[in-house]
Symmetry: C2
């Protein structure tokens, strides 16, 4: 394997803020980026080249593949057929296997279990009768979710009692679903890590995440977590990445559950991409998750993941929060990141602010 030389062009599927921050990191290393998306987004502003076309436009995909040396993506919901099509023309990293796993909640939890990790109890629900069987097995409270394409709380329905089953199933609109037992967790943490093409593995500090309205509000590293649980979280991440023959940055979200006075980490989700809970690394780690992903997909050695201070935090700027940009810009030690989206909408991720912490949380 040879490292991709600076001056080469990296293809990025998706034009959102993750693609934008990937492109900015790639530029620092001397790479050009070509964004492919079915919709215009803020990544386009920082690239000289882009393609706006549907994800099943084979002619456009073929031209795109011919213009780049490697393809990566900023979101996991790219159609599998698109990835398979591209993969015949140009290396796609991470590959179809990782995507197929992470796109499906049953697959990701099954893999985690097979590798010895803990998860919430879950059952496959393909029809209304399955839901009754699953509820009998798992009990309530539980959460019914579509197997695919859900994020930020979309495609989910709580089932507090068996009587909620009809309404919950209606929410799924007949899509293949999963019933997950409700887990009484203390807090949520994530591991953001990278695996190189050569199998090298580097993780950032375990990060503690606080959500509001199902959207990440604050991440802080290092997480408050028992050392054995942190080791377990990192080792699970390493095993999952190896099993998927992964190349690039990924995130695993965990629930922290205290059982018999001991902290356990339950795998909740695998995200095969850079992750919102890793945004603090831009200012808080020696290598940002975005540069780390570019290094990995370009076949470069992975960079140091060391914290630059005792701790670091990230606060998302959601919707109107972004209107505080002028105050944040004047705050000493606040690192403002504005995604350049001009239309403010409720729930829309508009930017974030990082701060270094002089002592661990």
């Amino acid at each position: 394997m040879t490292a991709l030389a600076p001056g080469s062009t990296i293809g990025i599927m998706g034009s959102g803020q993750l693609g934008r921050m990937l492109a900015l990191a790639a530029a620092r290393l001397g790479f050009k980026c070509h964004v492919y998306s079915d919709v215009a987004g803020p990544a386009l502003d920082v690239c000289d080249r882009h393609t706006i076309a549907p994800y099943d436009d084979h002619a456009a995909l073929t031209r795109f593949a011919g213009a780049v040396s490697v393809v990566t993506f900023e979101f996991e919901n790219i159609p599998a057929a698109t990835v398979e099509f591209l993969d015949r023309l140009v290396p796609v990293r991470p590959g179809a296997k990782a995507l197929a796993c992470a796109q499906d909640r049953i697959n990701e939890k099954t893999l985690a279990r097979e590798l010895g990790a803990e998860t919430a109890p879950f059952a496959q629900v393909d029809n209304r009768a399955d839901l009754d069987r699953a509820l009998a097995e798992i009990g309530t409270p539980a959460v019914l979710k579509t197997r695919r394409m859900g994020y930020d709380g979309k495609g989910q329905a709580k089932i507090l009692a068996p009587g909620d089953a009809d309404a919950a199933w209606a929410t799924m609109r007949g899509q293949p679903s999963i019933l997950e037992g409700f887990v009484a967790f203390d807090r949520e943490v994530s591991v953001v890590a990278a695996r190189g093409i050569d199998g090298a593995f580097r993780a950032f500090e375990v990060t503690e995440n606080e959500h509001r309205n199902h959207i990440l509000h604050r991440s802080v590293a290092p997480a408050r977590l028992a050392p054995e649980a942190a080791t377990e979280a990192l080792e699970t991440a390493r095993r999952i990445a190896a099993a998927l023959d992964y190349a690039g940055v990924f995130a695993i979200e965990y629930f922290v559950v205290t059982i018999g006075g001991r902290e356990h980490v339950f795998v909740n989700e695998i995200a095969p991409r850079v992750h919102n809970s890793g945004h603090w690394t831009i200012d808080g780690a020696e290598t940002s998750q975005f540069e780390q992903h570019i290094r990995a997909v370009a076949g470069w050695p992975l960079g140091s993941t060391r914290l630059k201070a005792a701790g670091a935090e990230m606060i998302n700027l959601i919707g109107d929060d972004i209107l505080a940009w002028e105050r944040i810009a004047a705050e000493p030690g606040a690192f403002l990141h504005h995604y350049g989206k001009t239309e403010v909408r409720p729930g829309r991720k508009m930017g974030h602010v990082n701060r270094l912490l002089s002592k661990a949380p």
Copy 2:
């Protein structure tokens, strides 16, 4: 004065690596950039919009001015007429006054003297007879330089003895010139600082610079410099910026001269732009010089200039040096910056590498 809102477009004159790093810093704050240049360069790769046209193309300049909210530049040798033309259409920061001063070695040294700073002895040389008069006044060794457009040792001729005068004058090709007395300096330092539209002033740590073949090789901060000399260097920078009603980042290069056991700083050059000796700030200061410049020209509050470690250094990657990118990428704690230039030429600035230092130099 109102701060320019994210989402606005900043115009950058010049398409080199300084423009590229300005555009990357602007993107982080949510700005779009539009590069205007008479030649294609690496800044184009990181912007969605650009204009390639001569600097005297009034139609292209008018369209450019209409597409941006403010104009800045990455190099000081833009024709004064271009800046004056743009200035009637859109704010240009820093303004024509600063450019006119910095484009002319006589003007910049005269201003420095008027503000109480020390410089090498100098005299204006417009013809061969002037040169004889200047040599009689200043003596040898001395350096004859064109008043305008010189950088990296170009447009300069050493005069070690009066007999060198003819050859030196021939090198100037009749251009208005300046004879500078040779100064026996211990080392070279620079102040990279910013002045806001509101008059606020913030300087980075004084930086020590080592040149090789007239090109900057290494910068390290903080400089080895007596505290009184450092204060003098910073105060001179503050006074010069105020006198020019400056907005943006600028650099002042000084010779450090020991006279009677005491260190003096002699103003050598004023650069009305981000400066190679400030590249360490990308990884070594809480705000990079590039973000600081964008903040200043956008009317934002200036950011913290605090060092992130005990010290920081930058090594330029000139010509073939860039071929070591793979080794540097694998070095823990090395921050590689590759400008994405594909053609390697001797003397060409291809990238740089920053490192943090655990103790002051």
